[in-house]
Symmetry: C2
Amino acid sequence: MAADAEQIIAALRASGGRMTGPKRAVVTALVEAREHTTAEDLAAAVQRKHPDVNESTIYRNLHILEDLGLVEHVHLGHGPAVYHLREMAHHHLVCESCGKVQELPESTLRPLARKLKAEYRFTANPRHFAICGRCEACE
Amino acid sequence: MAADAEQIIAALRASGGRMTGPKRAVVTALVEAREHTTAEDLAAAVQRKHPDVNESTIYRNLHILEDLGLVEHVHLGHGPAVYHLREMAHHHLVCESCGKVQELPESTLRPLARKLKAEYRFTANPRHFAICGRCEACE
DNA sequence: ATCTTTGCAAACTTTTTGCACCAAT
DNA sequence: ATTGGTGCAAAAAGTTTGCAAAGAT
């Protein structure tokens, strides 16, 4: 059930791409990342084993993975976007005071999505941005 | 009832700041802006009458206004933030295909905010980011 | 042999900052 | 006379791109 690097690699192959060391390393880093990871984090993880992989390669591969619908990025606030595998899709609450991130099941925003659809004929994809606010401790 | 530049200027004065030409021009541009305006737009508007005002001054004054709670910025998507007067606070639906922006009354997100408060003890400020998705035409 | 992918360096976009000067109080 | 505001130029931060070389098929 957990994201399996081999599945993703197979999807990449199936899409016509070529499988390279850096690409495999990016996928592995994404699968192993427990948390929301920035491109920079991923670069660091990849470079632990493959020191010569350039950050631009990370970005390029993240784009490929996003285009295939395997990865998504989210903006938690100012600063770099964070990336995660699509199958773990969820929403984010970010405290704008302490920066704490809480995850939310997709279902939490479903009523809102339904209302936006009904009243505005708008199909929301509310995952692209986090919901800002203040956590209990910072309130 | 509409945002009155003089009110805002009074608030700026009351906060201890000094009133300068550029500052007044930024406030005026914000009041006159009908839509969501980027710093760049505001700079252009200001420079129509005061050609020497630098973009960094726009940013600095926007920060001052935000610190006073008079202005808010929102991220509609990738690209520059947009600014607007706080009293016109509202939410945004942005179509990620055609870029169309729809405004939403604050009340629309109140049920969600209540739920986040109850279940996660999180006080949402969902205005800082737009809700992405697809509008009717692009669906 | 072909056509992707890569590393590198440089560009780009948006926003911030250091500094010397100017201007509002 | 102060002190905060300003223009300018440069930096910062995050991401993208052009290009020639390396690599996968």
